[in-house]
């Protein structure tokens, strides 16, 4: 199994190499488009577009995917469900690749939801842990709800644009922004992007998603899936951006997320939680810069995307190695790792320096372009710049926490110092860290082959923005220096800062995760309530609900369509008819009132016989005959069985209130039946079917008794069905009795 898993890393590797071959072409501005009709009638195509943006994402997805696959083989060594894990991982990777290359919004949505589902499966991979299941469900519900909003947005967009192809929407951007749906489209798309990319206030699911195995956190929850929201914002930047709503929302939400995430990261003690909150912060920075309109801001967003994917996946792999080798991820228990794990430490150093943004590391280049981009914007440049400085300073401090405590201080306090991990686990962080340094040394190359083509595919008026190691002494350089010193100060005073952060969180008290918990509890409470009201196990309750629904629904539909109350003429009955009806009523009353089973059975017989008399008096001798026969048999069976049961006293209704409730319900049914019968009698009778039978009974079927002819000739199949019902009832009854005998 492990050999198969290791071989499966060839899949991301070959995709990565394929994407590398595309790089020179996309850098020259080429784009590749394939269209496969899927549901042509609805305009849904499986159309794919590979341009600079897609290729950048594909490189990140397949590159990180390759290292994570190799790493996970050893990380999950001996796990029962290794096969399942790699299946989910690779299917996730393919869906993610589909997401970043789809050109049809509905195809994009399908891939989007697939990534949500695989994220759910991978977070809940350790499905025997309750925490794992809870986190998986939370991630699924939050991102799934965002996905539904996204679908609404896409459908509105499709209606407004008349096409579902993104590449055809881009030329219509101006008219789409005038469209009355624009506000709704923007809100829905942003909701989808913000939930997926863990923006405030939906960020809470991401730290909880750390319940997943560490390779998953490195892959899905730092490098790829959470970037899907960023991808969406970038992809729809030419269609939807430019309005004040777009810019203001993205900058404000992004800035809030960036600062809040970084402050929270400072106070964490679990290595993975630290990384999760800095990921939230990094996603906030990208969102904030995608709010911009000019090339430098967008370059900053895409550069930082690459910077972050490289160093953060390396750091997650490092955290996984530490956990695997020492058995803990708690900061206070870790020390002296640089000596016991030199190779891992090297990777960690490279990644942390990139995260802190030291010169010669790729993170430095990312930071410089960020400040340049922020200052070039016209809308809220100071807010963006200061949020970026603060968030970057905090991340520098976090990088210090990650590096200095566990790696540099003292000898191992933990019992087992932990040996170095095997080669294939170490190679991931080491190579990724090395890439961070390499890219930091040759930023011009990265800029012109990877970042600029990506920005050019969603920003047409591309003025040339170069990524450079040294821009000369200017404001961004000063801000970089400020950031590093701010980071040092924050690191030294981290305990005090953390206390202040905790206090302010308690003071604000608003927490997305608490709202989520309350919603979940609310749903469960509604379920319990409806269970108590409707499903309480009492037959009386069930029956009353059914009858009351019948009365209310039927009564409502009758009353809402009624024109005039039914006309009640005087009955004008002969004395013998009055007598018959009175006997009938008395018998019905006796059944209801009596406490003697025998009397009730006799009264039932009287009711049946009375109805037979009515049949006889109104031209239905066959009915009367059958009714009398059935009634006689019923009375016999009832007598045989019911007289063996206990009497009518004792069991049943106990309270007076329930008696009057039952009576009210029963009377309303009776009143409704009478009203409906009267309404039916006052409407004209259509005798055409009867006339047909009267005409053709003898001529077509040679029978003189029309009722019999209908039953045995015209509707003989119905009669066959009736016979089957009788036979089935007989068999079932026989089986019930027989089984009893067999057991005793």
């Amino acid at each position: 199994m492990e050999r198969v898993a290791r071989a499966s890393s060839l899949l991301p590797l070959s995709i990565f190499l394929g994407a590398v071959f595309l790089v020179p072409h996309t850098a020259a501005g080429e784009a590749y488009r394939w269209v496969y009709p899927w549901i042509p009638g609805l305009g849904v195509n499986l159309s794919f577009l590979l341009d600079g943006l897609s290729v950048l994402f594909a490189l990140i997805i397949s590159g990180v995917g390759f290292f994570v696959t190799l790493y996970a083989v050893d990380y999950l060594h001996g796990h029962r469900h290794t096969g399942r894990f790699f299946l989910f991982l690779h299917l996730f990777m393919l869906s993610m690749l589909g997401l970043v290359s789809a050109d049809n919004v509905l195809a994009l949505f399908v891939f989007w939801e697939l990534t949500t589902i695989f994220s759910y499966l991978l977070i809940g991979f350790e499905h025997e842990s309750a925490e794992s299941r809870k986190s998986a469900r939370q991630a699924l519900l939050v991102t799934g709800a965002g996905g539904l909003a996204l679908l609404v947005g896409f459908l509105l967009l499709g209606i407004a644009a008349g096409t579902y192809e993104i590449s055809r929407m881009v030329p219509m951007a101006a008219s789409l922004q005038e469209h009355p749906f624009y506000g709704a489209i923007l809100a829905m798309l942003l909701l989808g992007a913000f939930t997926k990319s863990a923006q405030f206030p939906f960020h809470f699911w991401l730290p909880n998603a750390m319940a997943a195995p560490t390779p998953v956190s490195a892959f899905l929850h730092s490098a790829t899936m959470v970037k899907a929201g960023i991808y969406l914002l970038a992809r729809f930047h030419p269609v939807l951006s430019g309005s004040a709503a777009w810019t203001a929302t993205l900058i404000l939400v992004g800035a809030a997320t960036a600062v809040m995430g970084a402050f929270t990261a400072l106070g964490q003690s679990d290595l993975k939680k630290i990384l999760a909150y800095t990921t939230v912060s990094a996603l906030g920075i990208m969102t904030m810069f995608l709010g911009g309109q000019l090339a430098p801001s967008l370059m900053a967003a895409m550069t930082f995307l690459l910077v972050h994917a490289i160093y953060k996946s390396a750091l997650f792999l490092v955290a996984g190695i530490i956990d695997y080798q020492t058995g803990t991820r708690q900061l206070e228990k870790l020390s002296g790792l640089a000596r016991s794990m030199p190779v891992t430490a090297l990777g960690a150093f490279a990644a942390c320096f990139s995260m802190a943004g030291f010169p010669l590391f790729f993170g430095f280049v990312g930071k410089e372009i960020m400040y340049k981009g922020a200052l070039a914007e016209t809308m809220m440049p100071n807010l963006t710049a200061s949020a970026a400085v603060l968030a970057n300073g905090l991340m520098t401090a976090v990088a210090g926490i990650f590096l200095i405590g566990p790696f540099l201080t003292g000898p191992a306090r933990h019992g087992e110092p932990g040996a170095e991990a095997c080669g294939s686990m170490c190679s991931g962080p080491l190579i990724l860290g090395g890439i961070g340094i390499f890219f930091g040394i040759v930023p011009e190359f990265v800029g012109s082959y990877l970042v600029s083509p990506a920005v050019a595919s969603f920003h047409a008026h591309m003025e040339r923005v170069k990524l450079e190691l040294f821009h000369g002494i200017n404001t961004p350089l000063v801000l970089s220096a400020v950031t590093l010193s701010l980071g040092a100060i924050l690191y030294l005073s981290r305990k005090r800062v953390n206390r202040a952060v905790c206090r302010s969180y308690q003071a604000i008290g608003l927490d997305g995760s608490r709202v989520y918990d309350r919603v979940i509890e609310g749903v469960a409470a509604v379920g319990r309530l409806q269970n108590r009201l409707l499903q309480n196990g009492s037959l009386h309750r069930y029956f009353a609900v059914v009858v009351a629904s019948f009365v209310l629904l039927t009564g409502y539909s009758y009353l809402s369509g009624v024109q005039a109350l039914p006309d009640i003429g005087a009955p004008g009955l002969a004395t013998r008819q009055w007598l018959l009806l009175l006997v009938l009523l008395a018998a019905v009353g006796a059944v209801v009132v009596t406490r003697s089973v025998l009397l009730a059975i006799c009264a039932l017989g009287v009711v049946g016989a009375g109805i037979a008399m009515i049949f006889l008096a109104h031209g239905a001798p066959d009915l009367a005959l059958t009714q009398l026969l059935v009634e006689t048999l019923t009375v016999i069976i009832v007598s045989v069985i019911l007289l063996r049961l206990p009497g009518l006293g004792g069991a049943g209704r106990k309270s007076r209130a329930r008696k009057s409730f039952d009576a009210a319900l029963a009377l309303s049914v009776g009143a409704l039946m009478t009203t409906l019968a009267l309404a039916m009698l006052s409407s004209p009778l259509d005798r055409s079917v009867t006339a047909f039978y009267e005409q053709s009974s003898y001529l077509a079927a040679h029978g003189r008794n029309i009722v019999n002819v209908i039953l045995v000739d015209f509707r003989s199949l119905d009669t066959l069905g009736e016979i089957i019902v009788v036979a089935t009832a007989g068999l079932a009854g026989f089986a019930l009795i027989h089984r009893r005998r067999g057991r005793s």
Binding site: K654, T674, Y698
Partner: protein, 140 residues
């Protein structure tokens, strides 16, 4: 007669619902018998009762001589009577077996599939409470 029967139908239906709502299985059976009768009568009345001659074709004629009673509802009721009888026989046996297995005819005590969560209710208080609520629902 039709108008009078409309009222009779309502009364029998009310009586049958009242019997079926009682928690006693035997009364439930009585209610079922009455419900069958009420529905048969309703179908019969729907064909109108003004013509009282049976729907038959006399010897030597191809069509009925003069107006006869409506044959269609009669055919329906004939089917309903037989099926109703089959259903009743089965229900009798089922209820008898239920009584043999559970030892009670009180439906509120039949809790094999859905056991009570809050223990047996002895007092009248919660029972009456629930009915207040149910009546509120009905009043809407």
């Amino acid at each position: 007669m039709e108008t009078a029967l409309a009222f009779i139908i309502g009364i029998i239906a009310a009586a049958s619902i009242y019997l079926m709502l009682s928690g006693n299985l035997i009364r439930f059976i009585f209610g079922l018998v009455l419900a069958t009768n009420a529905v048969n009568l309703l179908i019969f009345v729907s064909g109108r009762l003004s013509r009282t001659r049976p729907p038959q074709i006399p010897e030597g004629s191809a069509v009925p001589a003069g107006p006869v009673a409506n044959a269609l509802p009669q055919a329906l009721i004939l089917t309903a009577l037989v099926i109703g009888f089959a259903l009743l026989s089965f229900v009798f046996i089922l209820f008898y077996r239920t009584y043999q297995s559970l030892g009670t005819v009180d439906t509120e005590s039949m809790r094999v599939a859905e056991p009570r969560e809050d223990g047996p209710e002895d007092g009248e208080g919660p029972e009456a409470d629930r009915e207040e609520k149910a009546r509120g629902e009905e009043a809407e």
